[in-house]
Symmetry: C2
Subunit: 87 residues, 2 copies
């Protein structure tokens, strides 16, 4: 594997795993009042577009990284409505 591809996978690992803590914390505490609603909404759209971009240029690090990101951000959007006003 080329260094550049490896770099892409490491970057992708951090930026996709990086969307997990908020999703996990939300399900554990059921408190999401301090979380900005527009953040996971815009990021769900953004990571979906990155996934499409990755498919267009057939770049595997971009494709794989964004699949997990989409799931995590979408779940945080759901939490914002599920746990509304519980904070």
């Amino acid at each position: 594997m080329k260094i550049v591809t490896l770099m892409g996978y490491v970057a992708g690992l951090f930026s996709s795993v990086g969307f997990m803590p908020q999703m996990i914390k939300g399900f554990v505490t059921k408190k999401v009042d301090d979380v900005a609603l527009w953040q996971p909404i815009l990021l769900t759209i953004g990571t979906t577009l990155w996934l499409i971009y990755g498919l267009m240029i057939m770049d595997m690090p971009i494709i794989l990284a964004n699949i997990l990101s989409i799931i995590c951000n979408f779940l945080v959007v759901i939490q914002k409505f599920m746990y509304k006003g519980r904070g």
Copy 2:
């Protein structure tokens, strides 16, 4: 501009602007207790690595998108320490 490059810029616009709401909300409310600390830490690292990846493959959408993302996520990390226990 090729469609694929345009797609990359639109994706980059959403995913970089998408990191702004939490940073703005944090400075306005000064309440960040529900925000997971590890999220902005991992994403600051992740987006920095994506910036390096973008520079390695000289992909402008990836480079530009990640500069704003790094700033926003880093500021959320700072907020987590500045506003600790205020919630």
